[in-house]
Amino acid sequence: MTTPAKTTPPLNNSRRRLLGMIAASPLLVALPGLTRHSQPATRAIPSSGEALPLVGLGSWISFNVGNDKAARDASAEVMRNFFQAGGRLIDSSPMYGSAQEVIGYGLTKIGRPAALFAADKVWVSGGDAGRAQMEESRQLWGIPRFDLLQVHNLLSWEAHLPTLFTMKANGRLRYTGITTSHGRRHGDMEQLMKSQPLDFIQLTYNLYDREAEQRLLPLALERGIAVIVNRPFQQGALLRRLARHPLPSWAAEIDCSNWAQFALKFVISHPAVTCAIPATTRVAHVLENMGTASGRLPDQAMRARMAAFVDSLS
């Protein structure tokens, strides 16, 4: 099974131990709202104060494996290791083919962890169809309720947001949100962030796609809205571009030994970002991603240096 992302070698035991030592070191840079754990660092959801690990697990493409039992079992192993490494948030959508069903399969197989933060989306036109779709999604996951439901790509948000707010008021949902990707509809998202009582937004943000830094991320901080970041590696394209260049030696100052760590640390170190959701089919990659959230994170000056360096490569 190929993974559409990373060029990094698998973690070996010594590297895992090293990452563990880094996690336990006193060198972590203090960022607003950031707390340290023995495993991944967390950041608080502004609307509740609940802590979420900075790295979650996406399911776009990676978990759409259909009825392939071997691939489903492999996905379950990724989920098992994700939770064992301190992960919580798994994100999916009805748009992602069989991903919801595969997540449900994995959760059943590994015994639904109490730490699970289940995030899904509604992706259909019309309120009635949306309610039916969200219920179907819940059944596919095999969970009593979702923690977070988001309006996928703002599709039919006028119909779905009232439903989500009602579900939250009735205790059938904990958080509400809206999503976009690939830098689209940022203007509409900004308007909704200003006008609707949203708990979460989800958007694309990475070393190359930094438009969200201009308005949406500052607005999320100002309005107290949690931010989930999709496509932190541009579905692997970002890493393939960077792989043509050597990693700068100063990357070691933030415990980066490869471009994937470099790219992920850049994303999760933004103070507005609550959680990034890289998708992977490999246990080694999910462990490395979780380890990335445990080591030192770049401060503002280092983040600027990272962005400038990547820009200089283009």
Partner: protein, 226 residues
């Protein structure tokens, strides 16, 4: 999806190449040894093409219709739909093509249409033999496995190409209503393969476009002679 036209094909791809090709592997394993029967059907079509009688041409249309119907159910509905929600629409289109083949190739088949013995006919024969015998060999490309072979009657691409070949050969007339679905499928398949960076992405669309151009050219010459 709003602003869907601003997405690239690769943004819209729902699955990884390994999942896609694994789909064929599991499908082949599930239905083995039906592949032998499918290959035999392809050979029978070749023999029927040599025969060229009205009954033979009707038999070819029936065989093709059964293949399209099978693909609608066993491939698109049962398999591909598990990783691509659009496959349910593909299943409907493939079932429609099967009905068109039965209607135009059997019920409405005009008598006395001889096999085309022109350039278009020869190209059709080459394309049919390619779809039947060469297309499965693409599974030997690097990174794939022979168990993922795509066979006439079992997989959509070689079946669509074989159907276009039969249309080129003039053995199923009138052909125009039979062209759009195989051509559209070849374009969709090519786009999918391109999005997955498969080196053979150009094959289905190129074959479909060439076959369409030759069918149109042949029809013009035919109408000019009559």
């Amino acid at each position: 999806m709003s602003e869907w036209w601003t997405y690239s094909l690769r943004d819209l791809l729902l699955f990884s190449p390994s999942t896609y090709y694994r789909l064929f592997e599991l499908y082949n394993i599930e239905w083995w040894p039906l592949q032998i029967f499918a290959l035999a059907l392809g050979m029978i079509v070749l023999l029927l093409l040599r025969n060229g009688s009205d009954q033979a041409r009707k038999a070819i249309a029936v065989i093709l219709a059964l293949c399209w119907l099978w693909l609608a159910w066993a491939y698109h509905w049962q398999r591909y739909a598990s990783i691509n929600w659009a496959a349910s629409y593909y299943a409907a289109a493939f079932a429609l093509e099967a009905l068109l083949l039965l209607w135009l190739g059997v019920i409405r088949q005009p008598p006395g249409m001889a096999e085309a013995r022109n350039k278009s006919g020869r190209s059709g024969m080459v394309l049919f033999v390619f779809a039947l015998l060469a297309y499965p060999l693409l599974a030997l490309l690097p990174g794939r496995s022979w168990t993922q072979a795509e066979l006439f009657g079992m997989a959509p691409d070689p079946t669509a190409l074989a159907t276009l070949a039969i249309i080129l050969l003039g053995s199923v007339r009138p052909a125009w209503w039979l062209l759009p679905i195989p051509v559209m499928w070849c374009l969709i398949s090519g786009a999918t393969l391109w999005a997955m960076a498969s080196p053979d992405f150009w094959l289905p669309p190129l074959a479909a476009l060439l076959a369409s151009a030759m069918a149109i050219s042949s029809a013009r010459k035919f109408s000019g002679q009559t």
